[in-house]
Symmetry: C2
Subunit: 255 residues, 2 copies
């Protein structure tokens, strides 16, 4: 059991980057497949520190390895402990994921609230652990009693049961989001750039001249409205310079 | 194939609630297990409308049913189409989830940006579809060309590959969050309530009187600092009325 042999020196030597992320603790996990899925989900979002408390089928576990789908970095670094107390010995903040509400007066964090708070605590040099219970029944009340707060994953109350890998996935996802500024919408222009208003107007002039020549913009008294309608289409599209050239080529070809 | 028999009347009769959520479209899914996992993940977050385009192993699919873990509501309502164009025929907004960036000038939405926009579009009476590609290679460029925007799930660039069920899970999670006000932190006081400052001060008076009697708060010149330290512990804990009573019982018992 790697965990029981850790020394102060090992801890001191650990990669600083490693200390700047929460430790994921799976308490009494049953199926190796789920340990593997959790490891994979962790690495998907940049988490690498996994501790197991009394895994039912021991450790190492071939099925965990197979189901981790290449998340060897996580699997190879797994630390195993006999008790939750031992797994949490060096942690200063402990939060327990739970599906059902408990008869305990503990703060309940949202996944994003927990992720933001984890960054703040880790930034202040604390060591943060996030607990996940066994597949069948989740964490016991005694497990939860060791935690400072609960983390509740919002779900459809009529169908709320998430599997272990999915619960870890959502926590990992929020962890990554909390450290990254992801815009609601962006456009990657690649080799081109947004068209200038000058380029757009030149296209309009070209298009409308051809449409007058082809007889589309008649009768003359309806022309202003028709032009405005066409311009609305192309302004709404927020065209790129390269697209203006494509459209002008198209108009030329059709005319 | 249920989808091909849909009529205008069927659509008109569909539950209004159903129309107020995005349609999840799995394009050429390969493994029934993944269709089941997607269905389960959908229902976890209240999504129920699932369309399949040319599922490799046909439909119905026993493995999908088994892996849906009780999400029968989704599985029983699956609509199957021969082409993506047919599956999207009645949709007005189409967004394609994709892991890799494409050589296309399309807006890229974050999952939460997509969820918020979906609510806005659905609220305006639009029909929104979110596409997920086949397990092995994802959506082709031709599939993506039918979409208005891309949705990119942020992940660890060195290990970004999510499986189908997980991708659907994250989109579903953001969908649910976009419709719910989930506080970063809350406390459910249950049958009790936060203690009033009066109750807290009465506890302090009780505790400090006993600590003077027991000789703990000596020498007298250090007493103010010791009292402030003790009070800091109990104010930081943001005690509930019931906890004050527990603490007073504890002090009484020790004294």
């Amino acid at each position: 059991m790697a965990g029981t042999n850790r020394t102060e020196r090992d801890l001191a030597e650990a990669d600083q980057e490693q200390i700047r992320q929460p430790v994921i603790v799976l308490v009494e996990p049953q199926l190796g497949e789920n340990i593997g899925a959790a490891a994979r989900a962790m690495l998907n979002f940049g988490l690498t520190q996994l501790r197991l408390v009394a895994p039912r089928d021991g450790w190492p576990n071939e099925r965990a390895q197979a189901n981790a789908s290449g998340a060897d970095l996580v699997i190879d670094g797994v630390e195993v402990f006999g008790t939750l107390e031992a797994a949490l010995a060096d942690c200063t903040r402990v939060w327990a994921t739970t599906a059902r509400s408990r008869d305990m007066l503990k703060p309940v964090l949202s996944p994003s609230g927990a992720a933001q708070r984890a960054r703040a605590c880790l930034g202040a040099g604390e060591r943060v652990a996030i607990l996940f219970g066994p597949e069948r029944a989740g964490l016991t009340n005694d497990h939860v009693a060791l935690a400072d707060s609960l983390i509740e994953i919002p779900a459809n109350p009529a169908f709320a049961s998430l599997n272990l890998g999915q619960a870890v996935l959502l926590i990992g996802y929020e962890w990554l989001l909390s450290g990254r500024d992801v815009p609601d919408e962006r456009v990657d222009p690649g080799a081109t750039r947004p068209a200038t208003r000058d380029e757009l107007v030149a296209f309009f002039d070209h298009l409308e001249a051809e449409l007058i020549a082809s007889g589309f913009l008649f009768p003359v008294e309806k022309r202003p409205g028709m032009v405005r309608s066409l311009r609305a289409i192309f302004t709404r599209a927020a065209l790129f310079e390269q697209e203006i050239r494509t459209l002008r080529g198209m108009v030329k070809s059709l005319a």
